[in-house]
Subunit: 142 residues, 2 copies
Amino acid sequence: MLSSSSKYAVNAVLYLAVHSNDKNKIRAKEIAEAIKLPSPFLSKLLQSLSRENLISSSKGPTGGFYLTKQALNTPLIEVVNIIDGTSRLEDCVLGLKKCSSEQPCPVHYSVQPLKQKFRKELQENISVFAEKVKNGEAYLFV
Amino acid sequence: MLSSSSKYAVNAVLYLAVHSNDKNKIRAKEIAEAIKLPSPFLSKLLQSLSRENLISSSKGPTGGFYLTKQALNTPLIEVVNIIDGTSRLEDCVLGLKKCSSEQPCPVHYSVQPLKQKFRKELQENISVFAEKVKNGEAYLFV
DNA sequence: AAAAATTAAGACAATTAAGTCCCAAAATTA
DNA sequence: TAATTTTGGGACTTAATTGTCTTAATTTTT
Ligand code: FES
Ligand code: FES
């Protein structure tokens, strides 16, 4: 559904949403340990997100990654879009060149509305999902 | 969502459902040409399905692959289960070890019901989807 | 100004998925 | 029975994804 890289990135971003702000930056290594991930690999994902300005970073001692308040109001799906591209969630389930009702595949009408809802659910802002973790309604990296 | 192999396999099975029966077997090569796929690769997928008795085959001249009437009444999702295994559609979207409401990930309640509906839609028998192709309501390999 | 800590970038390695090839086994035809 | 045609199975190759390592750039501390 999502690539492994995307899953890691979403977890990391939500970890930042819960634990960081512009006064409290978090090093890649710390996130990697928290979400049990190889730290060099996570670094690369964080760099991609930073390059696209979805997360912020600063170098040197006391440096690290963090989310601005503005970033908290970004749809979570942006993380996936940056890492995986959009097509993964939009393409035809059976591999037709284009998913459309003009040339629908046999499962189109069964499945396309669900794909659309899926994307819509992930349009919810990062802060909404982060709140669930803060409230103890949801868990990261279990 | 599905692996490429699974997509190919579903297409091929639906092609068989539409065009074959126990009197009219179809060679791997013919299917491969129809759905524009490398024939050796498709052969391997068909062999996997045949080994699990989802499709039938016979060797030699006039041989080929076909679906029995019984096979037509198999849920389409079985094709995916044989090629991809079940976990791809059941695992946690964010990669938690287990998808459950006891330890839900932040997107669980947004997404898990959709995953479940997705699987349910694909529980429909192969014949149901094949009918859509016969009626011209749906298309294969466009 | 020098040392230390951190992100940035890109080359490199390992693993997995996708695709190819070869030969054996079985069935048909002649 | 011999030749032909097809599936069956496994080894092999290629491509994509995942993961590692090294070095440079930037910032802070001393
Ligand atoms: S055409 Fe296949 S999912 Fe829409
Ligand atoms: S726990 Fe993540 S989708 Fe259910």
